[in-house]
Amino acid sequence: MHHRSFGGKLFEGFNYVFLVACALLCIFPIIHVFAVSFSSSTAAASGQVTLWPVGFNLSSYKYALNNPQFLASFLVTLKRVALGVSVNMLLTIFAAYPLSKERGDLFGRNVYSWYLFITIIFSGGLIPWYMTVNQLGLMDSVWALILPGALPVFNVLILLNFFRQLPKEIGESAFIDGAGHWSILGRIYLPLSKPALATLVLFTCVGHWNSWFDGLILMSSPHHYPLQSYLQTIIVNRDMSLFTTASQEELKALSQVSDRTLKSAQIFIAAAPILAVYPFLQKYFMKGIVMGSVKG
């Protein structure tokens, strides 16, 4: 056991206070949004709400979930997450397997490593990138949200490092038994790499769920905006001009929910799915972060 001097106890007390303070500061803002979103509009507008709903009601959520634009954006986000994760994972696996091979097993291995690496240290910047996506005819389609970011070098590094740690003998003996690269990858490497794959799926899910910039500049019709781009436009930039299709009835319904509670409900819906799952998946994330900090 550690020494328990007076100073030691004081230090331990300080540690608890420090951690509790950090933890509370980290969660307060989101609890506040949660509280406002369930409060009555008058209570929210007069600033009475801090960490608990005042005048509990669900009208903001009803309004948000009946708003066709919000729902459309929500669906775009679901679609981009599903498609984006599948495409990312396929590309990452096919890139990581060859690159995990020794120099003798892949001819020109160093050339490929440099080929990937140069893209990290130098980039053309926003404008040429935007023009390329435009030239490829991807604008305003869901593929514009998926293809340009489909193969992050960071993910390839994580997976190829993991592949390298697998005992080489397994692959070699399968090779002698006549297995080709496809079956070695599919039957041996992938089943053994579940922790790394889970980590990458999570990183990619969160990345796609939270992306907003690509939707904002690559989607020309607002009903193709993913959720975060939609919220960016109406809440952060407070620009309603793109979405002025509201009918008289909608405007009337809007007057019953305050702008503030409605926005809070939308913010909370946009953050909730990830907040609901991340504590359970946190250990994978932590592994991924540590793995990613090891050089490839």
């Binding site: 001097s5 980290c26 600033g47 060859p98 080929y115 193969l151 503030r260």
Partner: protein, 306 residues
């Protein structure tokens, strides 16, 4: 018989090369072609001509960027903000990691860590929206509390002087969980025999932290800080754009290269000058990464990027 070694190789490695093809194509399309597109920084862009058909205009775009007076301001802001983020974030993350490692109670540790990790998972859009809810003058929670206490409300979105502090705080808040994990992993990797020896020598908890934990963290700190320094000219666009948006009143204190490039593109549609500013940033970034890699290499060869 055509037994040229190249064809032999191609045949022998065909499966593996086939697997690599999508990746090679991907980086051609989304990394190398845009890299070549950087030539528009040296052109007078017109829509009819496109990247390759537009007329060259030498260094005019760069001259325009540097003479506008914006170049120095945004470069300085980018570097200063990043330096502040690096210092504050790393100090807090190291403190949190040490404290987490020292406290007892598995459940307490787990819950505290989950809570600290929460902001990492929230998008910058949501962070920007929450910040606006908290800080705005008319209905913001902070001002409601101030009014409730009978104090003068503060007009935060009209006062540039507050923003360096707010942005440093938000950056620390969002990055705390992520960075703590790295430092916690480094602490967990310290040889437990060192702690046992310290115990036998009668070290108290402060001496243990100061003489064992912190010196053992130096290598990790140096590497992580150096790598962060490599990105010192890259502004966190998501953060600045969602916290500040198009609020021109705050630009003097908050404009970074990335927001400047984006705004020149969107509002003034000045493609040539934005591309020149973007290229200026890429070149600065490249030079810094090279310098940083050289330093990391000298310090610890295995941790160097290349």
């Amino acid at each position: 018989m055509n037994r040229h070694p190249f064809w032999n190789d191609l045949k022998r490695y065909r499966v593996i090369l086939l697997m690599l093809t999508p990746a090679v194509l991907f980086y051609v399309l989304f990394a190398y072609i845009p890299m070549a597109g950087i030539i528009i920084a040296f052109k007078h862009y017109d829509y009819a001509g496109g990247i390759f058909g537009s007329a060259w205009n030498g260094l005019d775009n760069f001259r325009f960027f540097f003479e506008s007076g914006d170049a120095w301001r945004v470069t300085r802001n980018t570097a200063l903000y990043n330096i502040a983020f690096i210092v504050v974030n790393n100090a807090l993350q190291i403190a949190a990691a040490i404290v987490l490692f020292e406290v007892g109670g598995k459940w307490f540790r787990k819950i505290a860590q989950s809570a600290m990790f929460l902001p990492y998972f929230i998008s910058w859009v949501v962070v920007g929206a929450i910040a606006y809810n908290l800080l705005n003058y008319d209905i913001g929670t902070v001002n409601a509390l101030l009014r409730g206490l009978g104090l003068e409300p503060v007009d935060i979105y009209n006062t540039p002087a507050y923003w360096p502090y707010i942005l440093v705080l938000v950056s620390a808040w969002k990055g705390l969980g992520y960075g703590t994990v790295m430092y916690l992993a480094a602490i967990a990797g310290i040889d437990t025999e060192m702690y046992e020896a310290a115990e036998i020598d009668g070290a108290n908890i402060f001496q243990r932290v100061a003489k064992v934990t912190i010196p053992n963290l130096y290598p990790t700190v140096i590497i992580l800080v150096l790598l962060a320094v490599g990105n010192i000219f890259r502004g966190d666009f998501g953060m600045f754009y969602n916290m500040i948006g198009n609020n021109g009143l705050l630009f003097s204190a908050t404009d970074v290269i990335d927001t400047f490039v984006f705004r020149s593109l969107i509002t003034s549609n000045d493609i040539g000058m934005s591309a020149a500013a973007g290229m200026f940033q890429s070149v600065l970034g490249f030079a810094t990464i090279m310098a940083v890699n050289y330093s990391v290499r000298r310090y610890d060869k295995d941790r160097a990027l290349f």
